[in-house]
């Protein structure tokens, strides 16, 4: 029972963080594609901006890993 709850908690940590990252990346990505279409030389900057929200899911992964390792 306890293992199952830990697993659900870990899945929620990664899953919700993944959804949040996806939402943020979708919004930023659409704007970034518009930017690249007008100014291709800004592609590097645009990719950087798209990559920033990924930290959310990595932090979710860290929380999930802590739940599994420490509990």
């Amino acid at each position: 029972m306890e293992t199952g709850l830990i697993a659900i908690g870990a899945a929620l940590a990664v899953g919700l963080a993944g959804l949040a990252t996806g939402y943020a990346q979708a919004r930023i990505g659409a704007a970034a594609m518009g930017l690249i279409a007008e100014r291709p030389e800004m592609a590097g900057r645009a990719i950087l901006l798209v990559a920033i929200p990924e930290t959310l899911v990595i932090l979710g992964f860290a929380v999930a890993a802590m739940l599994i390792v420490l509990l």
């Binding site: 592609a43 590097g44 900057r45 990719i47 950087l48 990559a51 920033i52 990924e54 930290t55 990595i58 932090l59 992964f61 860290a62 890993a65 599994i68 390792v69």
Partner: protein, 639 residues
């Protein structure tokens, strides 16, 4: 990069500029404003000539584009002043027959687009009047009949009824109106009426603002059947006619390709010279040209200027500030690090005088890539792909060939980490040889914690290195505030790592006090540097730095996902007969290799661009573009 000032007698300015163009070593800056002197007279004439040259360049580019050929290329750009009239005549001689063929091609392509629009309505109308469809204009006239075909852009039959009513008012019962639905939103109609009433019908259609289908002239006087057949034949002929016209156009242009490139290079060269001459400053008797040149090439420039222009023209080093914001940037790295330069400039070039992170990227990017892929088999496959790509693209796309070295380095590190993790196409190695991991097999249950620690340790080392480099840069340029900011963050990180080590039992209890002290001093230092607002921004900056370190957990996350996918591929391979298992496993491994080439590259790049560069990198540099070298040409000097 330094700024050399080339001074000489005013009468020598044209020759000096031409020789500097031949040398291809310097970038000419505007000497007028910098030295408070005037430019050469005749700017209006030069501007007018530049406009003429640009117009001719556009004409030459248009012809080269028809050949799918590159523009100026590497041809000699230094020629004497071009004779614009002769140049225009020559380009006109080449382009006149080509323009005729272009017009012919456009007409053929238009025909191919337009004819199907006539064909469908006619095909639909034919069954309505099978006998009438056999009659051409002449036959209809002999029968004293006229016809008009219409396309109504509506699906509403009421429009047809209205038209029928209006025709009745005009012609009584002396007409026939047939209609059918052609496609969604369009009704085709055919009106048959006495030829004598043709004008009245046309006037009625004009008042009702209905357009009739006017066939192209070639099909106008044919019967409906004959027109449909003729349009179909024409549509079948058109692809061949277009291909033949394209071949003729190419045959006209190919003999002139070399000359066109030569002319385009000449135009580009003179445009460059005119712009360079406009930037030169002059006094009553002398000229001054400010030139950016790589510092180590200054001596060679002096020697070459003296050899080509004589001792009357001298080169002075103005020794500008290393961080001059106007200075262009030329990255200079060892042969092994050079393939990584495009990855740095993809984000942006370092500002003049700032640290070039290419070497750091060359060291750490493949390492992180390898830590994520971590499989001997995948590493070997990627190595083979990279070597083949390098051979294939060496001539056609040198940039891709250079970047293939990045993949080679990443693949080698993948093999190294593959040995550490004991992975050969996932757990295939474990199944065949038993546990052969030098360190730990990643998907094993007890490996998660050490793997996470490894990723965080890599992140901590990388971020601390970046902060250290930032501190060194701050010392180099005497930026005390920046230096203390970096030191404060380093102290906090050191203190937190000490606390973590003590909490995990890896450090003795005596380490607790210095760790707490370092963290507290660091926090106070960072907060105090930003004034009152530092009470908020200081802790936020520190949390951001911790986030940067934790962000390296993606190395473990992406690596674990790849290892589990490989294990799943092997597991699926055991289901069913051997041949099917091999096929299924090969398919999933191929998919995983493709992912392994893509995802770790993006993640490793992101860790550099966002986490690492943020600690020390100062971007915003402008690329050094030597006068006399075409854009994109190798900027390494040649003798």
């Amino acid at each position: 990069m330094t700024k050399a000032q080339i001074l000489g007698p005013r009468r020598e300015v044209e020759r000096a500029v031409t020789e500097l163009q031949r040398l291809g070593r310097v970038e000419i800056a505007d000497a007028r404003a910098a030295n408070g002197i005037e430019g050469l007279r005749g700017e209006k004439l030069r501007a007018s000539r530049r406009d003429d040259l640009r117009s001719l360049a556009a004409q030459a580019d248009g012809l080269l584009a028809e050949l799918d050929a590159a523009g100026a290329g590497q041809a000699d750009r230094v020629e004497h002043a071009l004779d614009l009239n002769a140049l225009k005549d020559e380009l006109d001689r080449i382009s006149t027959p080509v323009d005729e063929l272009r017009r012919c091609l456009e007409a053929l392509r238009d025909e191919r687009l337009v004819l199907p629009g006539y064909l469908e309505p006619l095909r639909r109308l034919l069954p309505l009047v099978p006998e009438l469809a056999e009659l051409d204009d002449e036959a209809l006239r002999q029968l004293r009949l006229g016809t008009v075909a219409l396309v109504l852009n509506t699906e509403d039959e009421f429009v047809v009824q209205t038209l029928r009513g209006q025709l009745s008012e005009e012609l009584g019962k002396k007409f026939a109106l047939l209609s059918t639905r052609i496609e969604a939103g369009a009704i085709g109609c055919l009106i048959v009426f006495p030829y004598a009433d043709r004008a009245a019908v046309q006037a009625l259609l004009g008042r009702a603002q209905v357009r009739h289908v006017a066939l192209p002239e070639a099909f106008e006087h044919l019967s409906l059947h004959a027109a449909v057949d003729a349009i179909e034949r024409r549509l079948a002929e058109l692809p061949q006619a277009i291909a033949a016209a394209e071949d003729r156009r190419r045959a006209l242009l190919v003999p002139h390709a070399g000359r066109l490139r030569e002319l385009r290079a000449g135009i580009a060269g003179e445009l460059e010279r005119l712009e360079a001459v406009g930037r030169v400053g002059v006094t009553q008797r002398t000229f001054i040209a400010d030139c950016w040149v790589p510092r180590r090439q200054l001596a060679a420039l002096r020697e070459e200027v003296e050899a080509r222009l004589g001792t009357a023209i001298v080169v002075e080093d103005t020794a500008p500030s290393p961080r001059d914001p106007d200075a262009p940037v030329l990255m200079r790295n060892s042969r092994l690090a050079r393939p990584f330069e495009p990855l740095v400039s993809f984000l942006e070039l370092p500002r003049a005088g700032a640290l070039d992170p290419t070497l750091m990227m060359a060291l750490f990017l493949p390492l992180m890539f390898g830590a994520m892929v971590g499989d001997v088999g995948y590493g070997a496959v990627l190595l083979a792909i990279a070597l083949v790509a390098r051979r294939a693209y060496r001539v056609r796309t040198p940039l891709l060939a250079r970047l293939s070295w990045v993949l080679v380095a990443g693949a080698v590190w993948s093999i190294v980490f593959g040995v550490l993790f004991g992975e050969l196409f996932g757990d295939l190695g474990q199944r065949v040889f038993g546990d052969w991991a030098v360190w730990r097999y990643r998907p094993a249950a007890d490996t998660l914690e050490p793997l996470l620690l490894l990723a965080v340790a890599m992140g901590a080392a990388h971020v601390v290195l970046g902060l250290g480099l930032g501190a060194l840069e701050a010392i180099r340029f005497g930026e005390g505030r920046e230096l203390f900011d970096k030191l404060g963050v380093l102290l906090v990180l050191g203190g937190l790592f000490g606390l973590a080590g003590w909490a995990a039992g890896h450090l003795p209890s005596g380490a607790l006090t210095p760790a707490v002290a370092a963290a507290v001093v660091g926090v106070v230092l960072v907060m105090s540097l930003h004034g009152a607002i530092g009470m908020i921004t200081g802790p936020l900056e520190l949390i951001g730095t911790l986030g940067k370190v934790l962000s390296y957990l993606r190395i473990a996350a992406v690596g674990l996902a790849s290892a589990h996918l490989a294990a799943v591929a092997n597991e699926l391979g055991t289901i069913g007969p051997i041949w099917m298992g091999v096929l299924v496993a090969t398919f999933f491994h191929a998919m995983n290799v493709a992912l392994a080439a893509f995802s770790p590259t993006i993640q490793a790049l992101r860790l550099h661009y966002v986490e690492f560069f943020d600690t020390f990198f100062v971007g915003g540099g402008r690329e050094f573009t030597p006068f006399g070298r075409p854009p994109g040409a190798d900027t390494q000097p040649t003798s």
